[in-house]
């Protein structure tokens, strides 16, 4: 990868599958991002923000023991940009989140990077 479109962006990954989470981390790091957290469960947002800047979040919708919908609403309310990553169809998203960026599995690295770059482009 010659281009580093995510350079300088702090990204949090919430994905309950270990392999895919690691895969994403590699892809995003190769694209220049700083992956500040990879977790299988919903992180404590306040603590995460206290530890440092968070520009973007890549969130799996179904985390095995619960959905991340409410978490996403919280992000939206606090103005933190995020993209969904899921094996389900976009139809299952509730109406108020239907407009959120959305990546359907399986997804290749280029698309993840492009989607996050779009979101990050509007960042400070």
């Amino acid at each position: 990868m010659t281009q580093r479109p995510l350079s300088g962006l702090s990204i949090v990954i919430v994905e309950d599958d270990y392999y895919q989470a690691q895969d994403c981390r590699l892809i995003l790091e190769e694209a220049g991002a700083q992956v500040v957290s990879v977790s299988a469960k919903l992180p404590d947002l306040d603590r995460l923000l206290a530890e440092g800047r968070v520009d973007l979040m890549l969130i799996d919708i179904n985390l095995g023991h619960g959905l991340s919908i409410d978490f996403a609403r919280n992000l939206k309310a606090r103005g933190i940009r995020f993209a969904f990553l899921t094996g389900y169809d976009a139809e299952m998203l509730p109406d108020d989140l239907a407009g959120s960026p959305y990546l359907s599995k399986p997804v290749d690295g280029a698309r993840i990077v492009a989607a996050l770059a779009d979101l990050g482009g509007g960042a400070l």
Partner: protein, 721 residues
């Protein structure tokens, strides 16, 4: 007349009554008579009276000789007190008086006329005495008769009066005067105090006909009886008028009665009779009478259901269908015995030769002694009703069977009365035993899921409003807590004014269908999810597998082995969806796949159920360890493997702890890099299962340990994205 006589002459006169003409006349009077004067001494009244003269009739009456010169006190001492006052009064007043006296010595009644006499300064009393006992008795009798007549008069209920008809100048009768009236008169006429007054003065607008009728009787002397209405008085009268007296114009006695009420009743009765007659003529029923024994019947009117039958006939023998005769006879006999009424439905022979059905009713008519004199009744042809009923029964049976076989609940709601009828299946769908409750809109609403009420009610209201079919699928909460889905279709029926009167509909239970649809939807979603997930995982596994292999063949072998292990987990899970996976089974199968001999391994541990997610990871871990061991360790040589696990409680949660321990004479290679299996145990287990994992390479072989909390067994739908 005698006052001027001198004493001596008086004496002479008394001694010789025939001497003068007056004397002769005095003696010739048929009535007893005498003349008396006061006896005075020295100008003082002594209270004594002296007879100056007495005539022959008096002497005969008293049974004495001539009394002249004698005093009343000496002859009749008791008379002085009886008469003295009367004599004095008559003298004082100077006018005659007529007195009625009973005889002192007898029961005779006398009329006594006392006349004062004045002559030449002398005062005397002339008394004339007449025996009127016979007259008096007759009058007394008449008076009693009158009294009795008057009492009778007043005692009768009818009005009675005696009138004198008043004729006009042209001789036509135009009014009449009441001479007498009894007490009931007022009650029957409403006229008060009629005596001495004329009819027109009491009732000015009285019709002329009354005076005309009474005038006719007064002149003809012929009694008349008539009934007539007086609109002026607002009454009907039943009158008997008869002449009284000896010659025309007669008085008229009127005996009468106000029959207004009787007339009103007669009128009502006539109306009632007319109505009854109209009813009998108009009715489609046969009206009949029967003899007390119930054997002979006569048609009275109405519909000639039995054809042209006149006179009495044995109706059971002639008209009742043979098959029903015995039953009809029994009913009639029972009714006669019990003095009850007859009511029976039976077949009969119609005039057209067909068999029809009759509904016959009859009631007994009793006389004063409670003996049945006849029966009165009616029969209705109910052939078409019976037919309709039978068809209805068939239809209802078919509907019931169809709805039960088809599991369809039916309802019939009378919108006006609120009456609701449910089929048995409808009861069951609502969680009731058939007939357990009287269904109402409320019973139905109670079982409807609270979240659905508004929507269902809106759908019913819309269907009622528009006349379109009511279609609604909604949930019902049964008492056991079970929620079932019902699909309802119905339709309103309306009257001529477009008012909804009835709603009919059917229900089917769609719970199972919805469950299956939901299951199918989830399965499709899950399949889609898994396929996508699997591809993602394969991609990641392929990428992560790459760095540890220098040769492509080796890489491909490893990749295929891992994909096969993942595939085994998937097939285990789909084979028994919704179930957990037994750890011992999982381990043995994985060793079997790698052809590990029983004598080279020891597997031991308690029964542990793994969630699908944990099973996937453990399968892959055993696969990696086994592959590695075959290639480099104990399984590739004469070594031995112990695989043991245990359960334990950590902070109240069950954990499983598994150990893989190889014992081999010598290691072929010494891997230092963090390979796929090691990463799996040391990183993936903590990441995905929130557990711990250690991987160590000793001289004698690998020692791998991992432990994680046991979550509830997941199902096929326990998914991860």
């Amino acid at each position: 007349m005698l006052a001027g006589l001198k004493d001596e002459r008086m004496a002479d006169f008394s001694h010789n009554p025939d001497e003068t003409l007056f004397g002769a006349a005095f003696h010739a009077l048929p009535d007893a008579a005498c003349i008396l004067e006061r006896v005075a001494e020295d100008g003082e009244d002594t209270g004594e009276w002296r007879y100056l003269a007495s005539n022959t009739a008096l002497c005969r009456l008293l049974g004495v000789d001539d009394l002249a010169g004698q005093t009343l006190g000496t002859r009749f001492p008791e008379m002085v007190a009886a008469w003295a006052e009367d004599f004095k009064r008559v003298l004082a007043r100077g006018t005659p008086e007529v007195l009625l006296r009973k005889g002192i010595r007898s029961d005779q009644v006398y009329e006594v006329v006392l006349s004062p006499l004045r002559h030449g300064g002398r005062e005397a009393i002339m008394a004339r005495v007449r025996d009127i006992s016979a007259d008096h008795l007759a009058r007394e009798r008449q008076r009693e008769l009158d009294e009795r007549y008057k009492r009778l008069f007043d005692a009768i209920d009818e009005g009675f009066c005696i009138i004198r008809v008043l004729f006009g100048d042209d001789g036509t009768p135009n009014d009449y005067e009441f001479l007498e009236a009894n007490e009931a008169f007022v009650e029957h006429t409403g006229l008060r105090d009629p005596i001495g007054r004329s009819m027109r003065s009491l009732q000015p607008d009285i019709e002329d006909q009354w005076a005309a009728t009474y005038g006719r009787i007064a002149l003809s002397g012929e009694a008349e009886r008539f009934e007539s209405e007086s609109l002026a008085m607002g009454r009907w009268f039943d009158v008997f008028a008869f002449p009284i007296g000896d010659a025309a114009p007669y008085l008229v006695g009127v005996l009468f009665e106000d029959v207004r009420e009787r007339k009103a009743m007669e009128l009502a009765l006539r109306h009632s009779e007319n109505r009854l007659q109209s009813l009998i003529e108009a009715t489609s029923d046969l009206i009949f009478r029967m003899n007390p024994e119930g054997t002979l019947m006569q048609q009275l009117g109405g519909n000639s259901l039995l054809g042209d039958v006149t006179g009495e006939s044995d109706w059971i023998e002639n008209f009742v269908a043979p098959a029903d005769r015995a039953r009809v006879r029994k009913v009639v006999e029972d009714a006669i015995a019990g003095h009850g009424s007859i009511e029976i439905e039976h077949r009969y022979l119609r005039p057209d030769g067909e068999i029809g059905w009759l509904h016959s009713r009859a009631v007994p008519v009793f006389d004063d002694t409670r003996t049945v004199t006849e029966w009165f009744g009616m029969s209705t042809d109910i052939t078409s009703r019976r037919l309709a009923e039978r068809q209805l029964v068939h239809g209802a049976q078919m509907l019931r069977v169809a709805s039960e076989i088809g599991k369809v609940g039916l309802w019939d709601w009378n919108v006006e009365t609120g009456e609701l009828i449910w089929s048995d299946e409808h009861y069951r769908m609502m969680g009731y035993e058939p007939g357990e409750v009287q269904p109402t809109v409320d019973t139905w609403a109670e079982r409807t899921h609270p979240d659905e009420s508004a929507r269902v009610n809106a759908a019913v209201a819309a269907a009622m409003e528009t006349g379109e079919e009511y279609v609604c699928e909604y949930r019902v909460c049964q008492p056991g807590g079970e929620v079932v889905w019902l699909s309802a279709r119905g339709r309103f029926l309306y009257d001529e004014q477009g008012k909804p009167v009835r709603m009919l509909g059917a229900l089917i239970d769609t719970t199972q269908r919805r469950r299956e649809e939901e299951w199918q939807r989830l399965l499709v979603a899950e399949l889609q999810h898994r396929v996508r997930n699997l591809i993602g995982m394969v991609r990641s596994v392929a990428r992560l597998s790459a760095p540890s292999h220098r040769h492509v063949d080796e890489y491909v072998d490893h990749l295929i082995g891992r994909l096969q292990a993942m595939g085994r987990t998937q097939s285990t899970l789909t084979r028994s969806p919704g179930r957990s996976v037994d750890l011992a089974e999982l381990v043995r199968e994985e060793l079997l796949v790698h052809a590990v001999q029983d004598d080279k391994c020891h597997v031991a541990g308690p029964e542990v159920a793994l969630s699908p997610h944990a099973a996937e990871i453990v399968t892959l871990a055993i696969h990696e360890l086994a592959t590695n061991s075959i290639k480099y360790g104990a399984l590739g040589d004469t070594g031995y493997i112990r695989i043991v696990w245990s359960r334990e409680d950590r902070d109240g949660k069950p954990w499983v702890s598994l150990r893989w321990q190889e014992t081999a004479p010598v290691r072929k290679t010494k891997a230092t890099r963090k390979g796929f299996g090691r990463k799996l145990i040391e990183e993936r287990v903590p990441y995905e299962l929130q557990g711990e994992g250690r991987f160590a390479l000793h001289d004698t072989g690998v020692l791998a340990e991992f432990e994680f909390p046991l979550s509830d067994a997941g199902s096929i739908l326990d998914t991860r994205s």
